[in-house]
């Protein structure tokens, strides 16, 4: 006899939430880093020239490469630490979504130009 699938209330999770939390928080950090780096490259000639990894694309190549590297490195570190743990997902969610939202806002040129 199979156990009926009780759906109205969630069942006990089979996996801890750490791995998912690591992915979500690192993506928020990566997205925010991308926005901050794009502003920095726009405002500082030094940052702009140092992020010019591929001349035909200009500083956008460095902005995106560094942000992606930050995202991946953060993800690997957090995954290693949280993979088999249950973490405070509420706070991590809030932080990740705040970083993602801020990142989105900061890529909008009229807002980025405030800085």
């Amino acid at each position: 006899m199979t156990t009926p699938f009780h759906s109205a209330s969630p069942q006990i999770p089979a996996l801890p939430n750490g791995s998912g939390a690591a992915a979500i928080l690192s993506a928020g950090i990566g997205a925010f880093a991308l926005a901050v780096l794009s502003i920095a490259a726009d405002k500082s000639a030094l940052v702009k020239s140092s992020l010019n990894f591929y001349a035909p694309t200009g500083p956008l190549s460095g902005v995106t490469t560094v942000a992606i590297l930050l995202w991946i490195v953060t993800w690997v570190i957090l995954e290693g630490r949280w993979r088999s743990r249950t973490v405070a997902i509420g706070r991590i969610n809030a932080a990740a979504l705040a970083l993602l939202g801020l990142g989105l806002l900061l890529t909008f040129p009229p807002l980025a130009d405030i800085f």
């Binding site: 699938f5 759906s7 109205a8 209330s9 969630p10 069942q11 006990i12 999770p13 089979a14 996996l15 939430n17 791995s19 998912g20 939390a21 992915a23 979500i24 690192s26 993506a27 990566g30 997205a31 991308l34 926005a35 794009s38 591929y54 035909p56 694309t57 200009g58 956008l60 190549s61 902005v63 995106t64 942000a67 992606i68 995202w71 997902i89 509420g90 969610n93 990740a96 979504l97 993602l100 990142g103 989105l104 890529t107 909008f108 040129p109 009229p110």
Partner: protein, 190 residues
Amino acid sequence: MEITARGLWTLIHGMGFGALYLLACSGALVELYFFTASHQLSPPAPNHERFLKAYLIAMVMLAWFAVLSGTYVIYPWYRAPPPPGAADLSMFPQHLLMSSCTTSGWHSLGMEWKEHVAWFAPISITTVAFVFLRYGRDLRNHRQLRAAVLCFALVSFLAAGVAGLFGALINKQAPVQCGHTFQLRAGGER
């Protein structure tokens, strides 16, 4: 009937990867919402879960192809500087747009936003795909994780939408063209 090499690449980037990604995104949002809803009356079928995993992997690939082709193939053509004293700027879209106050906003607002916000799409959908691949149907039992996954999928959709919209509008104002011409069909006499 012909198309230039740059026009063809722009088509592959915009319609092949970008538009297809946007279409897939709307489907993924609905699928993720219902598949991971805790009020479902029956457990999802294993082949349904496998399908959604494959679907998300395909979306991740589309998103990365779209931003990489945009950043490293199309964008260099868009921002290429014209030779000094050039009168015809039609081959240099950024400079063509910036040459008039009636079109400069397409670059200073449109392209400046698009070139950065587009990257939120692959970052977000990669996260969504990873979490779904890892948790699958167990995501029903992680309500907050599920909420975050849906938010990231929505952000990916919005970011791709903004990038796609401005890409289409900018290309209408100052198309990326030039390069080898491919004859698609010989024109007949009318």
